[in-house]
């Protein structure tokens, strides 16, 4: 590529995500400590202390997408982990125990950062890593919230842990907390979140200037690098490209846009092609994914930051979960919803039957579910998936005809 040629945003994003792992390898080579972190642990802490951190969920998704998921899951099962356990956890625990994964290698950890806002499984998963590696665990517990608002007791409890986590990491790493740097890191994090939300907002346009499935790939950067200025810049560059696409009538979705759907849940990474195939054949673009609001952490002060970390897909009450989804369905004008009953994710899939009923009633769109898994290919049937997509397509056609040819506007 020529020096002055503009780098496409997706390559910038990929470079940012790759750099996270390169930084970790470089830190390891320098003899510095490297951490593993759950995706919604307050990333601001390690970033402020300048500690290199890798993300097991991100690694597991990458291994799965490159078809190493089943092999790693089977290693974990041989260690005694039931095949009922989250596929990401199984893959990562196998890796922590020394089973190689050429698909996405990352350095072994010297400490682990666990925040269980996304699920309770995370607590025991990280305890297991800490046992296997004999390393310290820093835990920030975010209790599940039954109300739309986050109360002051939650804020005080999480703040107490946040401050303790800083002290623990200072002790482990020998580094000192720098309040000025923390402010800059928070500013970066907010800037990334706003740019991410801006990118997601382009799904509102008809036709959409991009394929919503792209968000699943770009999400890696929000997970692994949201506190880095490069992440904010890359998402801002992507937003500019989407703005240009909009003006030029272009899209990364290269097919007809007959219908627009929300894809509910984590994708089946091992079968991304299989997921995409019937959608593209029928001109069904995904214009809504719940990760848009779920990773849009925007906060103005410490209390708001604590509240932001209470807002994960599986830590909010049913009403908030429904509001998030119905909000993006309306904004992004979806005609139907495809729900992934994810065998790996009990907290997520456990709300789905009730949410399906609410989506149908509130949005007057068809909703169809299919069985799958985010990481373990043994839990997905392509034939069932294709039949369900076919069914969704037919009902969306009927709804469109019933509404006089108008899709949801």
């Amino acid at each position: 590529m020529l020096e002055n040629e503009k780098v496409p945003a997706k390559l910038k994003l990929r470079a940012v995500a790759d750099q996270v792992y390169k930084n970790a390898w470089d830190a390891k080579k320098r003899g510095e400590l490297v951490g593993w972190s759950s995706s919604k642990f307050p990333a601001e802490i390690a970033e402020t202390l300048g500690l290199a951190v890798c993300y097991p969920e991100n690694q597991a998704a990458a291994i799965s997408a490159k078809h190493g998921g089943q092999r790693m899951c089977e290693h974990a099962e041989a260690m005694g982990y039931d095949n009922d356990i989250c596929g990401y956890a199984r893959i990562n625990l196998a890796y922590a125990a020394g089973h190689e994964a050429e698909e996405k290698p990352m350095p072994q950890p010297d400490f682990v950062l666990c925040c269980n806002n996304i699920c309770n499984c995370m607590t025991k998963w990280y305890e297991n890593i800490a046992r296997i590696r004999n390393i310290p665990l820093i835990m920030i517990d975010v209790p599940y919230n039954n109300t739309v608002e986050v109360d002051d007791h939650h804020v005080a409890y999480i703040r107490g842990q946040f401050d303790d986590a800083i002290k623990q990491l200072e002790k482990i790493s020998g580094r000192t907390w720098d309040e000025k740097k923390f402010e800059q890191v928070c500013a970066n994090s907010n800037r990334t979140a706003k740019a991410w939300l801006k990118v997601c907002s382009y799904c509102q346009y008809k036709p959409s200037p991009f394929s919503g499935f792209d968000l699943f790939n770009h999400m890696a950067v929000v997970v692994t690098a949201r506190c880095k200025v490069e992440a904010a810049e890359a998402f801002e560059a992507l937003a500019q490209e989407l703005e240009q696409n909009l003006k030029d009538g272009k899209s990364t979705w290269k097919y007809a846009e007959t219908h627009r759907i929300m894809f509910e849940g984590i994708p089946c990474w091992p079968q991304l092609q299989a997921l995409f195939k019937p959608l593209k054949e029928k001109g069904i673009n995904t214009t809504a994914v719940v990760y848009a609001p779920a990773f849009g952490f925007v906060y103005n002060n410490m209390d708001e930051m604590m509240k932001a970390y209470c807002k994960a897909p599986n830590s909010v009450c049913l009403e908030t979960g429904v509001e998030w989804r119905e909000g993006i369905c309306r904004e992004n004008k979806v005609d139907g919803i495809l729900v992934h009953y994810n065998r790996s994710c009990k907290p997520w899939s456990g709300y789905m039957p009730e949410m399906q009923r609410r989506f149908r009633k509130d949005l007057d769109v068809p909703v169809v579910g299919f069985d799958g898994d985010q990481a373990d290919p043994r839990n997905f049937s392509e034939a069932q998936y294709n039949t369900r997509v076919e069914g969704l397509f037919e009902v969306m056609e009927e709804y469109t005809a019933r509404k006089g040819g108008d899709h949801n506007e």
Binding site: M79, G80, Y81, D82, D84, I85, C86, A89, N116, C119, N120, C121, T123, K124, W125, E127, N128, A130, R131, L137, M139, I140, D141, P143, Y144, N145, N146, H153, H154, A156, Y157, R159, G160, Q161, D164, N314, C317, L318, Y341, R343, K346, P347, S349, G350, Y351, M352, P353, E354, D371
Partner: protein, 381 residues
């Protein structure tokens, strides 16, 4: 019939028909509150002059209506709790208290709240970082919320005095049950696995003050009974719930005596008392939760204490092996299994893992595994 047999029979009757027990309390003009797993501070319910009714699924139940809320891959305890709410089995309760302590219970709390709106719903989220001051404060805040809701349901305030009294009643009950567990281990010839289970389970359907009176009488008789050498096998059980009549019968028929347990529904729930010298009774309850440990449901700040704890339990109780009753789709138990397995293997303690659920009707595989385990341990004696 000896007095011991009479008492055992009385406890047995209670667990055969919890409904009868509930109706008895309702007919006395009392209100009852359903307490789902885990770590519900029943003391607050008792202090509100209501009956805490422990609901841990329904062994032998069938899931139908709950399928509208849960896919098949969820723990049957949670599914059957919802099923009972939907089918009217829980009618008569004046409210329920539910915790989101595992990944099935998170959505369970939401599903039950919307599916069964006839029951006033009391949500209770415990902190996992339960020991530092901020954790104790958070527990107190959650328990205070429970207290406030119960005061609304009961229509009267709950005084500190009644809370302190409830703590005393519950500490006595736990002490009595812990003592029973030890005495049952000494006298398997008098108390078999089914009877042992009935005594511990009946506490969930009985006012603890009443339960303790009966149990203390039984304990006194067991204390006096001559010790007879047990020729069978001694085991420690581990899991969430072990109240299946079929499984308990298989254990008894294979000459196995449960001499200690690491079962959430049994000993895990009665290990820790609330301090009685604490001025603020809500703080006393929060400190009690802070001291809970060695549980698959709880974060272990020391990372790996549970296997050693169970190994010690085996050694102290003189058990020859561990029977792990693995509740299907129970992530916390499954995640902790490899560490437990490693701990037992390193200590040279035999174990067997039996997959169970509450809808189970075919016990062939469990029977074969337990028979083989019993035979193996007999040969090692």
């Amino acid at each position: 019939m000896s007095r011991i047999d009479e008492l055992l029979s009385e406890f047995g009757e209670i667990v055969i028909s919890p409904r009868k027990q509930l109706d008895k309390y309702l007919s006395q003009g009392k209100k009852a509150i359903g307490c789902f797993p885990y770590y519900v501070p029943e003391e607050i319910v008792y202090a509100a002059d209501m009956v805490p009714f422990g609901i841990w699924g329904q062994t032998g139940g069938t899931i139908n209506a709950a399928k509208e809320y849960f896919a098949a891959f969820y723990c049957t305890i949670a599914q059957l709790n919802l099923e009972m709410g939907l089918k009217g089995t829980l009618d008569g309760l004046s409210g329920v208290i539910a915790s989101p302590m595992c990944d099935t219970l998170r959505p369970f709390t939401q599903n039950f709240r919307v599916a069964c709106p006839q029951f006033p719903f009391v949500f209770l989220a415990h902190p996992q970082n339960r020991r530092p001051g901020y954790g104790v404060d958070f527990t107190m805040a959650q328990y205070t919320n429970v207290k406030d809701k119960l005061e609304e349901i009961g229509g009267k305030p709950i005084s500190d005095e009644s809370l302190k009294n409830a703590i005393k009643v519950y500490n006595d009950s736990r002490a009595s049950r812990r003592n029973f567990v030890k005495l049952a281990a000494k006298h398997p010839e008098l108390v078999n696995a089914t009877q042992r289970s009935a005594i511990l389970k009946s506490a969930y359907f009985t006012l603890k003050s009443e339960h303790t009176v009966l149990l203390n009488e039984l304990n006194a008789l067991l204390e006096k009974a001559p010790v007879v050498e047990w020729k069978g096998i001694k085991i420690v059980t581990s899991g969430i719930v072990l109240d299946s009549p079929s499984l308990l019968e298989i254990i008894t028929k294979n000459n196995m005596a449960i001499v200690a347990d690491d079962v959430a529904h049994e000993s895990r729930a009665i290990r820790i008392d609330a301090p009685e010298n604490e001025e603020n009774p809500m703080k006393a309850l929060a400190l009690q939760f802070a001291a809970q440990d060695y549980d698959t449901l709880l974060y272990d700040p020391e990372i790996n204490k549970r296997p050693g704890y169970i190994v010690d339990k085996v050694k102290e109780s003189g058990a020859q092996g561990v029977v792990i009753m693995m509740m299907q789709f129970c992530d916390p138990e499954e995640m902790e299994f490899p560490s437990l397995k490693k701990g037992l293997e390193e200590a040279g303690i035999p174990y067997v893992k039996i997959g169970i659920d509450q809808q189970m009707t075919d016990f062939g595989q469990a029977r074969t595994s337990l028979q083989a385990f019993s035979d193996m341990l007999s040969m090692q004696k």
